[in-house]
């Protein structure tokens, strides 16, 4: 009984907040999708909020938000925990499939130094293709079973590919195609939509509260947040993919996660990567 009244109260509060907010914010100006303007506003928001952080340092997430954490991380980077995964990924990448081909044959430039171009919008298929998806498609095209999107093998592969692109600026393109714009907009909507019993959106933590704590963790800013992926998380005692992070974020706020690489996740990765264009790839990363 108590819970139900609490929920009704929350709903009422939500409705009230909606009324007050609606009267103070400008009504959604033009409804035209303008990614260029979005990215500009997005980057300005964070650089204004953290004027002392160098632009390229936003990709270091919580480490750029806290001096003590930064020092510990610098020490650890001399012998980074993702080294083993990175080595495994390098080995896997050139090992031939049963078909005789290898991952090198599925990607431009043999897969070296191309991570910053993912995700991209495939105009033939009409959908966003992420790096993880492309890797599994490569496997399937060569008669191999796909890897789980949330386990070590996929993380090792993306770690290696990210490493070969380190320092290169994120370079996501949105073709002049209404479907691409729709995917981008869908990703943006996902990012700001509240979900789960905790009623959090991605923005709640990564736009409203970067640098602040949630329990014992320091929150990363959304700007550049995908640039460090995949990450070795001390919390996981291991490597994790973008898919793993998206799905676990959902369940942490008590929302049932979708399947890895479902449209919403591909689109939000597309959005987040695009608005971080220009920031260097820093993956694979290490996080608390």
């Amino acid at each position: 009984m108590k819970l139900r009244s609490a929920i009704y109260l929350a709903s009422a509060a939500l409705a009230f907040a909606a009324l007050t907010l609606a009267s103070t914010l400008p009504s959604g100006a033009s409804d035209k999708v303008d990614p260029v303007a979005d990215a500009k506003a997005f980057q300005k928001f964070f650089t204004d909020k953290f004027p002392k952080v160098k632009f390229e340092d936003f990709v270091n997430g919580p480490y750029s938000m806290n001096e003590d954490l930064y020092r510990q991380w610098q020490e650890k980077e001399q012998f980074p925990p993702y080294e083993f995964s990175l080595e495994m990924g390098k080995e896997m990448f050139s090992k031939p499939f049963k078909s005789g081909k290898s991952y090198e044959d599925c990607f431009p430039n043999k897969g070296i130094g191309i991570r910053q171009n993912y995700p991209y919008f495939d105009e033939k298929e009409g959908k966003v293709i992420t790096l993880e998806l492309a890797l599994n498609r490569c496997r399937e095209a060569n008669g191999e079973p796909p890897f789980s999107y949330v386990k070590d093998e996929m993380a090792a592969l993306t770690a290696y590919m990210a490493f070969t692109s380190r320092g290169k600026p994120m370079d996501i393109k949105i073709p002049n195609d209404p479907r691409a714009l729709a995917a981008y907009e869908n990703g943006k909507e996902y990012f700001y939509t509240r979900r789960g019993q905790f009623n959090f959106s991605c923005a709640t933590c990564h736009v409203q509260s970067p640098g602040e704590r949630i329990r014992a963790e320091i929150l990363a800013p959304a700007l550049g947040i995908v640039n460090a992926m995949p990450i070795y998380r001390s919390e996981w005692s291991g490597m994790g993919t973008t898919s793993r992070r998206f799905t676990t974020c959902n369940s942490q706020i008590r929302g049932v996660p979708m399947n890895p690489q479902d449209d919403e996740y591909r689109n939000v990765e597309y959005y987040l990567s695009y608005v971080s264009n220009g920031l260097p790839i820093s993956g694979p990363g290490a996080r608390p």
Partner: protein
């Protein structure tokens, strides 16, 4: 006299048993209805791709209580699950427009 007493006692006892089982059966029916409503609401939330983990957990707890015959407890849990599911539907529907309030412009 004694026979009469025994007979009435028996009748009373039978009546009592019938009454109790009627109550229990009513409880089970209540549970079934509440559970069905909760499941339906959660399914609806699923169509909106916005289910909560706690809804599923509460539904499971309701089922567990029902299997143990604790129908009052089970019905209460089922009603809570329904409330959670409905809240998740409300969240999904209102967020369709509300998300823009959080957007950086």
């Amino acid at each position: 006299m004694r026979n009469m007493m025994q007979k009435s006692a028996l009748v009373l006892a039978l009546l009592a048993v019938v009454a109790v089982s009627a109550l229990a059966a009513g409880s089970e029916d209540d549970f079934k209805a509440a559970y069905a409503a909760a499941e339906a609401a959660n399914k609806e939330a699923g169509k909106l791709r916005n289910q909560w983990t706690t809804t599923a957990a509460t539904l499971a707890a309701a089922k567990k209580s029902a299997d143990a015959g604790e129908f009052d407890k089970a019905t209460a849990a089922a009603k809570e699950a329904e409330a959670l599911a409905k809240a998740s539907i409300f969240q999904a529907t209102s967020e369709k427009t509300r998300w823009k309030d959080l957007e950086i412009r």
